[in-house]
């Protein structure tokens, strides 16, 4: 019996989606102002599936994002200043400048950072799920993979491993149409990634990734399945990458018609419509949320801009346990809390 999402929960998810979009818009401006070190990878159009899937987790569960799942991080309690400092390479970033973009996290917060090599997270999250099972904990492990990433050997090995051992692992496969410039039909000979679930002997499902309610419920089902010991789920979300691979890529290779098609199905737009249609919220509510987000962003951005760059000597630290680890060099300057589902 599926629970119904309350108004508060829906507005919560709305908040996180807007936060994601507005933070990324800000990052884009900063990028063009030359204030960002390295590249910028946006998740425009995909905010819904990231937020909704992460929203279905509980405290104690583990999350591992990829580059286009910023929304999931916010749901789990990450704040904008952490993202800004990561992009700027500041000494106050969660990794002290050791790594960039969303490559940060901590076991205490239940957030496992990715590496750039695609697919590698899946065996690792399988291992976390294995530990959960061995420790008789109810916690599940959830991670994401793009259509491109499903082609890797690590994806296959990790999923098969989790399947055989019936581990509480959820893999959200995001079919967003493109892996850099490679369209899906050059990546795989099938239409739906979830079809592969049969091959692994696990549960698979395909949902509309831009429908946050559908994604939320599908993820809840997968989470419950995992907690009951029924093994992994390969949950495919259909969505679309509305910008290029990164800010330096203008995605000229994507047909205009596709973009127009998906523009109409924007997740934020759809949730606004749903809320309005069900009399749960109106423009003033949305504006209030937007306003709140603007203030949060301003405050966090100011903090990030005023933060110093890292002490160069930190480059030598944290290689082994015997050398001081990153968090020991300087305490985290700000509090962060693990947000749970209200």
């Amino acid at each position: 019996m599926e629970e119904t999402l309350t108004r508060e929960q829906l507005l919560d998810m709305y908040y996180y989606m807007k936060l994601t979009r507005m933070v990324e818009e800000r990052l884009q401006r900063l990028y063009r102002q030359g204030k960002i070190v390295g590249g910028l990878y946006r998740s425009l159009g995909q905010e819904g599936e990231s937020v909704a899937s992460a929203y279905a987790l509980e405290e104690g569960d583990f999350l591992a994002v990829m580059i286009r799942n910023l929304g999931a991080l916010f749901v789990r309690g990450v704040r904008p200043w952490e993202v800004f400092t990561q992009y700027m390479g500041k000494g106050t970033s969660p990794t002290r400048g050791k790594d960039n973009i969303v490559h940060f996290g901590s076991v205490e917060r239940g957030i496992i950072p990715p590496i750039s090599h695609l697919g590698d997270l899946i065996p690792v999250m399988a291992g976390i799920a294995l530990a959960s099972k061995m420790q008789r904990k109810r916690s599940v492990a959830l991670t994401y993979i793009g259509d491109g990433g499903t082609s890797t050997g690590a994806f296959h090995e990790g999923l098969n491993f989790a399947a055989v051992l019936k581990l509480p692992l959820i893999v959200i496969a995001e079919d967003n149409g493109y892996a850099y410039s490679t369209p899906k039909h050059k990546q795989m000979a099938i239409e739906n990634i979830a079809d592969r679930a049969i091959g692994y002997g696990i549960f698979g499902e395909t949902v509309d990734g831009n429908d946050v309610i559908a994604v939320y419920h599908a993820t809840r089902r997968a989470v419950e399945r995992a907690r009951e010991g029924l093994g992994p789920t390969l949950l495919e979300v259909k969505t679309f990458r509305m910008r290029g691979h990164a800010e330096h890529d203008d995605a000229w290779y994507v047909p205009r018609e596709l973009l127009e098609y998906w523009q109409k199905r924007d997740p934020i737009l759809r949730l606004e419509t749903y809320l309005k249609e069900h009399g749960m919220a109106d423009e003033t509510d949305f504006e209030a949320i937007t306003h709140r987000i603007e203030q949060e962003i301003e405050a966090d951005l100011q903090y990030a801009e005023q933060s110093p760059m890292p002490d160069p000597r930190i480059a030598l630290e944290g290689v082994y346990a015997e050398t001081p680890s990153v968090s020991e060099v300087a305490p985290l300057p700000r509090e962060h809390a693990v947000r749970t589902r209200s």
Partner: protein
């Protein structure tokens, strides 16, 4: 004191750690029901159960990846590579994930990846390799290779207790051919410490694994000629024990590095460079090395014998530096 084979010592170390700490568990191919291709883990499944002795699919990347995940949340996995040659499939997980977590986000990855290395058993190119050089280059990893039963038990315990990822190489030729006294009960051989297996005065041999035993043989031969060789068993390849290595070579002034691994890019080059850049003034002769040639490992016995460093070569190298 009990006398065990090298393999029995490893088994005993693993067993004691599994008894001592319930967070320790094993995963790998054919380690449970079959007891491991070389029977290292024989009896473990019966004693510790399926949950702690996991027979996995053939997925070295997933085996190591899962070990990493489990270690991140507090367990102490020991992953087996059936032959260490297959570790190449897990290269990415080891060098890009395990080695970098602490550096990037302060999280330790206390895994052990163990497996049989080395030749001498007509295993051919894919069952006889020494893979330390591929990982030696990766900051964040540790590498150990015991040569005696005593060190084997002590080092597997140390590896399991270490907070960072440790690669534990067991030389398959030594498994049942080397016996030695192994204390009962708990003891550690510290990681990062070399051991002087034979005190000497004229020439230092720096070596590890099977080559330790060949070096000791060589030392006995040249002792007849009045050359007293000091044989240093590195035991830990990464991080190298600079103090012991440099003290010994500064004392004798002559160094011969012996390893079974091939020549170019083998760790002898790194060791020789450390000697050169710090204690050049103490050298009486160039630092030389005895290694396998730069080829894949051949299969047929006469070819493999030619390939592997032999006692005679070590003797010649020692004489050369001694008479320089």
């Amino acid at each position: 004191m009990p006398v065990l084979t090298y393999l029995e010592a490893i088994r005993q170390g693993l067993w004691e750690e599994m008894e001592r700490d319930e967070r320790v568990f094993l995963l790998g191919e054919d380690i449970g029901v079959y007891g491991g291709a070389f029977k290292v883990t024989e009896g473990f499944l019966e004693r510790f159960g399926e949950e702690r002795v996991i027979d996995t699919p053939i997925s070295e990347a997933a085996i190591v990846g899962a070990a990493i995940g489990a270690a991140l949340v507090g367990l102490r996995p020991v992953a087996e590579m059936q032959f260490i040659d297959f570790i190449s499939i897990a290269f990415d997980q080891l060098t890009n994930f395990a080695a970098k977590c602490r550096y990037r986000w302060g999280a330790g990855v206390p895994i052990v990846v163990r497996g049989p290395c080395g030749g001498g058993v007509h295993g051919g190119p894919f069952h006889s390799q020494n893979v330390e050089a591929y990982f030696f280059h990766t900051p964040g990893l540790k590498i150990v290779e015991p040569a005696t039963p005593y060190d084997a038990k002590g080092l597997i315990k140390a590896a399991i207790r270490d907070e960072d990822p440790v690669l534990y190489f067991e030389h398959k030729y030594l498994y049942r051919r080397i016996r030695g006294e192994v204390p009962e009960g708990d003891y550690i051989v510290p990681i990062g410490k070399a051991d002087i297996k034979r005190l000497g005065r004229d020439v230092t041999i720096l070596t590890y694994g099977w080559m330790l035993h060949k070096s000791l043989e060589a030392a006995e031969i040249v002792a007849q000629e009045g050359i007293e060789v000091e044989v240093v068993d590195l035991r830990t390849l990464l991080p190298l024990d600079d103090e012991t290595i440099l003290s010994s070579v500064a004392k004798t002034g002559r160094a011969v590095i012996v390893h079974e691994d091939t020549r170019t890019g083998g760790i002898a080059g790194e060791i020789a460079m450390r000697i050169n850049e710090r204690i050049f003034e103490y050298l009486e002769a160039p630092v030389v090395r005895v290694t396998a040639p730069d080829t894949p490992i051949p299969f047929s016995p006469p070819l493999e014998e030619f390939f592997l460093p032999q006692v005679e070569e070590i003797v010649q190298a020692v004489r050369w530096v001694a008479n320089y």
